[in-house]
């Protein structure tokens, strides 16, 4: 098993607040890696550090041996790391189809002139983009509503569309920030199956932030637990569940 992502003493301070403090972990190729912890533990901040949206205060992050820290978000996305957002950040004024087309940006290359003059290369590329977009919409089950604005979708559909949009990047790593938030029990079960399916189909490595503990325990190969910005446990679900530090963090937080 090869190590795909390696965080080394990652830190982020906001003034005096240590949102993420000296966090080190490794993610292996092909695994589903869960990130859990009480509210405000620094999970989303960690995702933002990994995708370059928030600059690190210290530490490094490597992906396949290449350094990610210090790179702008679009470069990190271009290296094959896609993500979704906790508070859903779709392009709300664009259609579902356009949303899925937009993030094929990194896998395509036609420029202003190619696009405007409709050169054969750009036309062929546009055709591929279109096909791929429809494929993804079918996969996430929104193909029959392709031309509707993203803003008009239900909460659950928006979350699925966000995953579809991230998949359009053709990522090797997918970061899902609370993908089950706001979903009912049936939808959550569907999501579990869906995440397994896309991992298999796209050979993905998935990092997942989730509050719903049964879902995490069921889905993840390994779990990391954050509390007050610090990593307090990493391991397989069964072990983590028994870890006294984890139990204390959760009970203490109640």
């Amino acid at each position: 098993m090869t190590v795909l992502l390696e965080a080394h003493q990652l830190s982020r301070y906001f003034g005096g607040l240590k949102a993420v403090n000296n966090v080190s972990f490794q993610v292996n190729d092909g695994e589903i890696f869960g990130l859990i912890g009480p509210n405000g533990a620094g999970k989303t901040t960690l995702f933002n550090l990994m995708t370059g949206l928030t600059p690190v205060s210290g530490g490094t992050l490597h992906y396949r041996g290449e350094r990610l820290t210090g790179l702008p978000p679009y470069r990190i996305a271009g290296m094959g790391i896609g993500r979704t957002f906790q508070n859903i950040r779709l392009f709300k004024g664009l259609s579902a189809l356009e949303n899925v087309k937009v993030s094929q940006h990194v896998t395509t290359k036609s420029g202003l002139w190619g696009g405007v003059f409709c050169t054969p290369a750009s036309r062929a590329e546009e055709k591929r983009v279109d096909e791929k977009a429809w494929e993804l919409l079918h996969l996430i089950g929104l193909a029959d509503r392709a031309t509707e604005l993203a803003a008009n979708f239900s909460y659950g559909d928006q979350r699925r569309l966000e995953i579809g949009r991230a998949l359009a990047l053709e990522p090797q790593v997918l970061l899902l920030d609370e993908p089950a938030a706001g979903m009912n029990a049936a939808e959550k079960r569907g999501l579990t199956a869906f995440v397994r399916e896309i991992r298999k189909e796209f050979k993905l490595t998935i990092l997942l932030i989730e509050h719903h503990v049964p879902l995490v325990m069921n889905l993840c190969d390994r779990i990391a637990v954050l509390n007050f910005g610090e990593l307090i446990a990493v391991g397989n679900p069964a072990d983590v569940q028994k870890d006294p530090a984890v139990i204390e963090a959760y009970l203490g937080a109640e």
Binding site: T51, L53, P72, P73, Y74, A77, G78, G82, R83, F85, R89, L90, F91, K92, G93, L94, E98, K101, V102, S103, H105, V106, T108, S110, G111, L112, G114, G115, V116, F117, C118, S122, E125, E126, V129, T147, E148, N152, R165, A166, L169
Partner: protein
């Protein structure tokens, strides 16, 4: 018909010209960037054409090239505007919203004061006797008209291309676009440069059309007028700036029977249009089309 064109030629050409200037604001707005720099580039382009057309240094060129000098003026104006836009845009486009708007207003004003004081731009008086490309005002439709058609085609193709999608993604959510692999600075600067080049070329076409060029061509009033064109026309499709620019440019003429009070009415139109047509004329027409379509049962899909 011929009489009509001769009498109203100036107005019609002005409508097309203003529609083009409105479009120059539309490209940055496509990426959600409110830039009011167009009048600056418009003035710059006009000066480029006026200077090439009048000063002694270019006399041999003018004599040997004949009318070909005009397209060369447009080209020169476009390139110079584009380069200046690149230099101004890279630092300025780190700003957002009203801050960017204010920075571009400052840019226009600085450029205006500089042009007001340089010898080559003719100081406060400006440049007179810019050589004409055509004899009648109306004939200038043959320069502005094709440019408008070209820009409409350009916008139409842009809208459904990879670059156009990147623009719109940045408009919708810059941060999410960044996380989806789109370099926001690159595309914002690109949109700014496209708008600037267009304004520069329109300026270069306008100097012969107006025969004279001075610092009053690029003022704050113009910045706001173009913004009004786009917002009142509708900023979410290319038809918006076209409609807004053409109609608002014609408004003072349409209101001419009202004589002295026409500019007051003009102001009221701006107020009421922004209140009652939030999506602009293009948006209102689109809604109308949808409603009519639906009531006849032609319209399928949607919500």
């Amino acid at each position: 018909m011929n009489d009509f064109l001769q009498n109203n030629g100036f107005l019609i050409v002005t409508m097309v010209q203003q529609a083009l200037l409105a479009m120059s604001l539309y490209y940055p707005l496509m990426c959600g960037q409110l830039s009011l720099a167009s009048p600056g580039f418009y003035a710059l382009g006009g000066y480029v054409a006026a200077i090439i057309g009048t000063i002694e240094y270019f006399a041999p060129w003018r004599d040997s090239l004949g009318w070909v000098i005009f397209p060369l003026e447009w080209l020169a104006a476009g390139i110079i505007s584009g380069i200046l836009a690149l230099l101004v845009g890279i630092p300025a486009l780190r700003l957002r919203g009203i801050y960017l708007a204010l920075a571009t207003i400052a840019f226009v004003e600085i450029l205006r004061v500089i042009c007001l004081n340089l010898t080559i731009t003719g100081g406060a008086i400006g440049i007179f006797g810019v050589p004409q490309l055509f004899e009648s005002r109306w004939s200038y439709i043959w320069t502005f008209g094709p440019l408008l058609i070209l820009m409409l085609l350009f916008s139409y193709r842009l809208d459904c291309s990879r670059v156009g999608r990147a623009f719109k993604a940045i408009r919708e959510d810059e941060l999410a676009a960044d996380a989806m692999g789109i370099n926001p600075t690159r595309y914002k600067v690109l949109a700014f440069v496209i708008g600037a080049m267009l304004a520069g070329v329109v300026g270069a076409m306008s100097a012969p059309f107006l025969n004279t060029w001075n610092a009053r061509q690029g003022t704050f009033d113009a910045s706001i007028a173009y913004l009004a064109y786009v917002l009142i026309g509708g900023s979410r499709s290319m038809w918006g700036p076209l409609l807004g620019g053409a109609l608002l440019a014609a408004l003072p003429e349409i209101l001419r029977p009202l004589k002295d009070s026409r500019l007051i009415i003009n102001g009221l139109v701006l107020v009421f249009a922004s209140i009652y047509m939030p999506q602009g004329i293009a948006g209102a027409l689109g809604k109308l089309r949808d409603n009519v379509g639906r009531s006849f049962g032609f319209f399928r899909g949607g919500k």
